[in-house]
């Protein structure tokens, strides 16, 4: 009998420590499926950053380096420049990527580093208990904005995927969600492209994935999953730059 649904080879058989309803586990699985399908497990090095996903190495069965908070893209740069034959990816949260590490993330993209950056955007600092993050929506309540984010005090959330799409060094940039089965499949295809960006030496591959955070949003998992739809109104999903598709079409013709 043909088995259509298998456990990914590069996913370790450890129980996820993530809270019920958190989207990290979905993205972890997608990442492993992509690693398997691209057959890059043996030459991949991942960067675990600081946040809920700092234990990336308990789940993803590839070589993994832990980087200080926000510095994942710089550490990934060091690895890729030292050993260009490796496939290097970072897995970061919105605070790590877009607040403390914005400079490292932005400049790695500007340089067109041949790395893949995965940013999980759940609009709060999850691990520390739900504080304001750069991607918190105007009016959204967090533990440090109990009255809601006031743009007069904290400005507006950055739309990183759109910003990065305008950088010449970026080969792929898009924002996706995993709160419906269709979106999960779209995310997987985009994730593959974010890896193709470096595999084909085209440039920086960036993918932002909207994730729920039921505990810090103070919601049950089902409502939190639906809540992601509201975030999509501000953070539109889709591909904003895709040099990979162009490259692949050129290959075919």
């Amino acid at each position: 009998m043909y088995k259509a649904f298998k456990f990914p080879k590069s996913l370790k058989k450890n129980l996820f420590h993530y809270c019920p309803g958190c989207h990290h586990s979905i993205v972890h699985r997608l990442l492993c499926e992509v690693i398997d399908e691209l057959n890059i497990q043996e030459k991949s090095v991942g960067i675990a950053s600081i946040g809920c996903a700092c234990f990336l190495y308990f789940y993803i069965d590839v070589d993994i380096l832990e980087a200080p908070h926000g510095r994942a893209c710089a550490a990934a740069t060091g690895i890729k420049r030292a050993r260009p034959e490796l496939i290097v990816f970072t897995y970061q949260g919105d605070g790590d990527f877009a607040a403390i590490g914005f400079n490292e993330s932005f400049h790695s993209a500007l340089r067109g580093e041949k790395i893949t950056a995965i940013m999980i955007n759940n609009t709060v600092y999850g691990m520390t208990g739900g504080q304001l993050s750069p991607t918190t929506l105007p009016g959204q309540k967090t533990t440090t904005t109990p009255e809601g984010r006031n743009p007069n005090l904290y400005g507006y959330p950055p739309k990183i995927a759109e910003i990065f799409a305008n950088l010449e060094g970026v080969a792929f940039s898009g924002r996706f969600a995993v709160n419906t089965p269709k979106r999960v499949l779209e995310t997987k295809e985009a994730l593959k492209k974010a890896f193709f960006a470096q595999i084909y030496n085209l440039g920086f591959g960036y993918i932002e994935i909207l994730s729920s955070c039921p505990v810090n949003w103070k919601m049950d998992p089902v409502s939190a999953n639906k809540e992601v739809d509201k975030f999509i109104k501000f953070f539109s999903i889709g591909t904003f730059k895709d040099k990979v598709e162009k490259f692949l079409q050129g290959e075919k013709s």
Binding site: Q41, E42, K43, S44, V45, I47, A48, C54, F55, Y57, D61, V62, D63, I64, L65, E66, A67, P68, R71, A74, A75, A76, T77, G78, I79, K80, R81, A82, R83, L86, N103, E104, H107
Partner: protein, 360 residues
């Protein structure tokens, strides 16, 4: 084949030493007085199949070094005081993750933006642990361009031997002064990295390089392992001593200050003063045992004078080594115009006076 002799700045000697050790990656960010290192590396590394990358900040540069070192490649970074301060968070990670990184600090005057005068104001930062948590670098302090060349090459070997970051602690005088450097071929040993480097999990289980240990037992054990390693480094203690039996005063100095102090001591010796000279070359581990042993002699020194281009930092390590068995005097020179040997001679003589009158 003849050995090449060149006229070079201390900082150039450092870069050439790194190339002699087959350093393959350099990351950095411009800051005076060490810009000749990245400039030389940007010319030379690509020719040798290496990588030169100027980062957007010292913070990024040191994290690039973290990544490169994790793959087992020979890599280095250089900066000067304020830039080094920016790297301190990642220093703690590099030490905790036991990566063989080579870090160069060409010290300038502080605190704050300070100035570009020569200074040894970062002694504490280099030696006592420059970031959070318990950790140490192995710290080497050259005192001329030749040593800068040789010790930088040696730093790569020691970094791999102990899987620990090694810092070259130099300063603006030593860095910018030109003198002869003999480009000797150096034998720099390589230590295997096949058991730990991140190179892709091919034909082996995947590896993790991390410093997060949430289990209190595990974290305690990690700290004890590191502590043991720092103790083991004492086997590689380096120093220079010009001490004769009967020397009543020992002048202790490192780096460029040791150049000045050594001349002052030699001059005083010629004039009949019982003055010895001691220069730690490894600042961590500090050559404490050597100083302790001096005090076991019957004709032990009565005073130690610690001359430094700062407000008195290494003097604390000398005091710890001497452990109250002799007087320790701090001869401190905050970052400014550096003293001439004659000024030092006068100051040292002042400390001798009571002794020589006893002699009579």
């Amino acid at each position: 084949m003849g050995v090449r002799k060149i006229l070079a700045r201390g900082v150039e000697a450092i870069a050439l030493g790194a190339l002699e050790a087959d350093c393959k990656c350099y990351f950095g960010y411009p800051i005076t007085p060490q810009n000749e290192i990245p400039e030389l590396m940007s010319r030379e590394l690509p020719k040798r199949g290496g990588v030169f990358l100027q980062a957007e900040s010292e913070v990024a540069a040191i994290n690039m070094l973290l990544g490169a070192c994790a793959t087992g490649i020979r890599a280095m970074i250089s900066s000067s005081s304020p830039g080094i301060s920016l790297m301190c968070e990642t220093f703690s990670y590099i030490a905790a993750q036991e990566l063989p990184a080579v870090i160069v600090n060409v010290m300038r005057g502080g605190p704050g933006l300070g100035g570009i005068e020569a200074s040894q104001g970062d002694y504490f930062q280099a030696v006592k642990g420059s970031g959070h948590g318990d950790f140490h670098f192995l710290v080497l302090a050259p005192y001329n361009a030749q040593e800068a060349y040789e010790l930088t090459a040696k730093a790569f070997e020691l970094a791999e031997k102990y899987r620990n970051p090694v810092m070259i602690l130099s300063d603006a005088i030593l860095g910018q002064m030109k003198e002869t450097v003999v480009l000797k071929k150096l034998k720099i040993k390589r230590y295997p990295n096949e058991t730990w480097a991140l190179t892709g999990a091919k034909n082996r289980p995947s590896r993790i390089i991390r410093s997060l240990f949430l289990s209190s037992q595990e974290l305690k054990e990690r700290n004890l392992i590191l502590m043991k390693k720092y103790k083991k480094m004492e086997k590689d203690v380096l120093y220079e001593a010009k001490i004769e039996e009967g020397d009543q005063i020992i002048v202790v100095a490192f780096g460029s200050m040791a150049r000045i102090a050594k001349e002052a001591c030699i001059n005083l010796k010629k004039k009949g003063y019982p003055v010895g000279f001691f220069r730690p070359i490894t600042l961590f581990p500090f050559p404490s045992k050597v100083l302790k042993n001096l005090l076991k002699n019957e004709k032990k020194p009565k005073k130690f004078i610690v001359a430094e281009l700062n407000c008195g930092q290494m003097v604390e390590d000398v005091k710890l080594s001497v452990d109250g068995k002799a007087e320790v005097i701090s001869l401190f020179f905050p970052p400014s115009v550096i003293p001439f040997p004659e000024e030092l001679e006068r100051k040292i003589k002042k400390c001798i006076k009571p002794l020589s009158s006893q002699k009579v």
